[in-house]
Amino acid sequence: MARWGMLIDLDRCTACQACVVACQVENNVSPGGADQAELGRAISWMRLVPFQEGGHEHGTRPDLRLVPLPCMHCEKPPCTKVCPVKATQIDHDGLVAQVYPRCIGCRYCTTACPYTVRHFNWKRPEWPQPMEQGLSPDVSVRPKGVVEKCSFCHHRLQQAKDKARAENRPLREGDYQPACVETCPAEAMVFGDLDDPRSGVSRLSESPRAFRLLEELGTKPKVIYLSKGAWGGEV
């Protein structure tokens, strides 16, 4: 079985936020409105998080690095074991899934996640009028009061599998790509099977530039970053 992983090359990333927008549209994420964003409640499965490098000593200039942050789809996720109702689990594809109709909205998973990538529907999702008609039929719209997060575009995996089955062939590299990866104009993102030694993602993950976020917590994230220079110390 494939071990799906994502690789983000920070040296190629231009922080253009195309991945953020693509994700928003692909997964029917409600824009929420300016008032909610101001309250710190905007839902965004993919976010750019500003990491500061240097600038702590007087007279030095801080260097901001914007890091795209989706769900890490950890192999040892701290979120799944704390859910009291098994509404979030590692599914049969190895992805950390969220079961919206079962979630009771206790937000234990959101507080247990060290990456803060889980989001809560503080209110019923809304879209401005023309956008409402453009919602994707492949992704369910979440109700008020449940938790949601990046799914690695799981519905695309379903479609890719169906297509491969219809064409009577195995799943090939590139058949399944999340929307953010597909969109990235700088080609900074690679997606694929980490267990397949020939896949791009698994070859690049061996690079000396590769690292994972908060690796020391033992969560085994399946999102891998590439970057030159000192990293990790500033996290």
Partner: protein
Amino acid sequence: MEKSDTDQDARLFAPMERTGRLFWIFAAVLLSIWLWGIYAWSTQLRRGLSVTGLNVPVYWGLYITNFVFFIGISHAGTLISAILRLAHAEWRRPITRAAEVITVLVLFFGLGCVLLDLGRPDRALNVLLHGNFTSPLLWDVASISTYLTGSTIYLYLPLIPDIAILRDRMPGRRWLYKPLALGWTGTPKQHRLLEKAIAVMAVIVIPIAISVHTVVSWVFAMTVQPMWHSTIFGPYFVVGAIFSGIAGILIAMAIIRKAYHLEAYLKPIHFNNLGLLLLVFALLWFYFTFAEFLTTYYGAEPAHMMIFRSKTEGAFSPYFWTMVVTCFVIPFTFLCNRRTRGTVWGCVVASVSVEVGMWLERFLIVVPSLSNPRLPLTAPSYSASWVEWSLLAGFLAMFILLYGVFTKFFPIVSIWEIREGREQSVKEVITRVESYLPGIPEPIHE
């Protein structure tokens, strides 16, 4: 004999026989506060948790703080009463009932806080249908419901003889007292059975009570979040719970003493003794807090220090230092001095201060850790909304009202246990003390 006995304890019957205008006024005020809380709740049900001040990453706020606080207070009754009973502390007699009622009532409000916090309260039963036993929240559900059952039985058992007394005394309320009295007539056999049942329950509820707040602490301690992931949390929470629990009993005692003129039953000595217990727990609380903060500071891991600093010198420092003063400095000062500890007002000042401090302690555990996530996210600070404050006020009002209503139906000071103390225990204590000492002939048991 029977007649004079009743007259001697007439004060204890008075609250059930007469209800003054003041009670109705208080009840009306409390009821309106509660109705306001209901309105706030309906707003939240309609518009979701967007009506709170919560945000990303402060996903938990006042509701969870109140949950931990209320469950903490619940350690007032059952635990203290069970320990005093097992230790044969004779001064417990007028206190136990007032304490046990707090436990049973406040547990409901603790559970209520969790329901308020749910995004989907309509799906709360999923916890039973799809329970996941690796989740500390499910451990909570299990231990709190066990505790609620245990402490309800433990409140009810010593009530039976009193209900029987009321059944015979107040014919107008026979419909209520007769079924609840379970045919109690006070035969020696019934007494033996009851004493045994109470003793068994007293032993059982102690480990349950300790498990309850340990598990509440594990909701936080089992995660990897900085300043939550701490092995000291279990005992630290239990100590804090008993600490706020004793303070809760002292406040309740002072109020019923004043309202029902029970000066003859709740004497300064009772306040003094519970005050000493409160002092011990103030010291224990300080010890645990000091140990926790020194370990964090000395280890100086950056993620932990960010939260440590936000508490001691950052945005949360006013709350932190108020907590240190109200949880330790004020109670320590008032309770070390015999002149203030031996008075009702001295104990009340210390207790109110402890309650404020312990609420702040719970707040300072929940919010600062969430406000400083490991990854650099910019987030507005959390401040609770009117809905959250209204629901806290509503819960407090309803708790006080239900406590008052209880005193109108059942004696808040155990009548039969006071009588038993007067008639038997005085002699028993003499024989017991004699048995400790050499040179006094052993009494012959028949």
